[in-house]
């Protein structure tokens, strides 16, 4: 659906060259929700704008539905843009138009007949749950409502792709959840491919199928969300994951643990199916030792369980060793060096 082929984008600011995007290769398949995560300044916003030609690559090619965007003339670019809806962090609604007027705007640009516009606007406002706000002006709406209008407006021309520029970053957690659910619905009901950028890992965790991590203009890691979450490679990816999943208590708690003569800690990682078996309980009972869950969490990622627990064992050393060995065959288990942590 969208292909980045060795894409780079360099801005020249004064005499300084800023490499916003470097040698990015990515493929976004039809119907998926693809998330790009990175800290601010990582280049994700520029990368997103290459998709609807708000920016042009300095090198490489961006293809949308098999068409190289660089080959298009301005009128053709405008046609392509109508197949790509876009929503923004600050909503970017037209203050001089009502909610209905905002949603009608792209349809007017596309020269749709007036009666048809009216019908389509009503349908879209119903979809985003704002039928009663049609005559209101943007300043009368809450942030979440504004983003709903943004979504309705982006969907007006029935695009194949929706690109989201930090769409939930200006919203509170509850409203963020609402908007994410709405995006998921857009993806499911209309089969619209969604490409979003964010700096919030929970956005990726809650709705994305695939993820790419960007740093300094480069994609440093990409893949399925579950795999990336459960076995991250890059340090930055790990940092993002840690932001939504606590895997180590604070150093003061660990200090206390050590001072009280706490035992060796082990990290156990469960993935998918394994999480539903009472493995820990079974193995420790078999080896006649006790288990103490010190810290950790079990989460749902892409409708699969993912557990990350910090445990210690109480009992004979030999028995503990053989229990750890048996667990190692079923789940991921590793010793945690508390002194170092």
């Amino acid at each position: 659906m969208i292909t980045f082929k060795d894409v780079s984008k360099t801005f020249t600011i004064g005499k300084r060259e800023v490499h916003a995007v470097r040698n990015v290769n990515l493929t976004i398949e039809e119907g998926e929700i693809f998330g790009i995560i990175g800290f601010s300044g990582a280049g994700k916003s520029t990368l997103l704008r290459l998709v609807n030609v708000l920016e042009n690559p300095t090198a490489g090619a961006v293809e949308v539905q098999g068409v190289d965007l660089a080959s298009l003339r301005p009128t053709e670019v405008r046609k392509v843009r109508r197949r790509i809806g876009m929503i923004f962090q600050n909503f970017n609604l037209l203050t001089s138009r009502t909610v209905a007027g905002n949603v009608a705007y792209p349809l007017k640009l596309a020269k749709m007949p007036r009666a048809k516009i009216k019908e389509r606007v009503e349908e879209l406002l119903r979809f985003v749950g704002l039928s009663d706000k049609a005559k209101d002006y943007p300043e009368q709406l809450s942030g979440g409502q504004k983003q709903r209008v943004g979504i309705a407006r982006a969907l007006a021309t029935s695009p194949d792709i929706l690109i989201c520029d930090e769409a939930t970053s200006a919203l509170d957690p509850d409203t963020t959840g609402e908007i994410l659910r709405l995006l998921k619905k857009v993806n499911k009901e209309f089969g619209i491919t969604i490409l979003l950028i964010t700096h919030e890992m929970h956005v990726i965790q809650s709705i994305c199928d695939k993820v790419a991590v960007m740093e300094d203009g480069e994609v440093i890691e990409s893949g399925g969300v579950f795999d990336t979450f459960t076995s991250p490679v890059h340090q930055t990816t790990k940092r993002f994951i840690r932001s939504v999943q606590q895997d180590l208590p604070s150093s003061s708690l660990l200090d206390e643990w050590r001072q009280k003569g706490g035992k060796q800690l082990y990290r156990i990682i469960f993935k998918g199916e394994v999480a539903s078996d009472p493995i820990l309980s079974r193995v420790t009972r078999k080896h006649d030792i006790d288990v103490n869950i010190v810290y950790g969490s079990v989460q749902e990622i892409q409708a699969k369980f993912y557990g990350n627990l910090l445990v210690s064992f109480d009992g004979d050393e030999g028995k503990t060793a053989s229990a750890v060995k048996e667990l190692d065959e079923i789940v991921q288990i590793e010793e945690v060096d508390v002194a170092w942590a």
Partner: protein, 220 residues
Amino acid sequence: MGVDWQTFWPRIVEATGQTILMVAVTLVIGSIFGIIIGLLLFVTRKGNIMENAFLYQVINFLINIIRPIPFIIFLVAISPLTREVIGTTIGTWAAIFPMSIAAAFSIARVVENNFISIDPGVIEAAKAMGASPLQIIYTILIPEALGPLVLGLTFITISLIDFSAMAGTVGGGGLGHVAMTYGYQRFDTSVMIVTVVILIVLVQLAQWVGNTLSRKILRR
């Protein structure tokens, strides 16, 4: 030795009409050219929808040389051009010509400032929806800037009333002319007071209309 108010009133009424005519015609002509020049200035700015450094510099330079010239000097300075275009340098229409030029360049700056204050994100959103540069101008720039634009034009209108009085002193007619010839040169205080009161009323009226209109557009 004052004027005979019985016969003088028609002169006041006529002069008021001339002032209103000068201001109104100038406002229309000045707005048309001012909006065009201001729009050109904005869209040719660096990073904007029709970026053109050369055109921007030329327009910017023109505005910067015309705007600071005191109007009374500008009026006299371009009088040869006024004679070419209007055929005379005396009378209401001869005053409207220099007033329109001065107004157009002032309005251009006001228009540019109002466009700059539009959220660039909104322009980007319109682009992303497939709007052409021309569509951005008449569906985004003008409607989004209309409220402050009306206030800006109100401000200009009031300085036009001031301009018209100055034009009056060099034969432009209107209340300025009456105030100068009867009020100042003949020391008739009553004429001075009447013309000043009428000018104040005109300014108040213009401000009220502008405020009401912009409040309606801005919904606040």
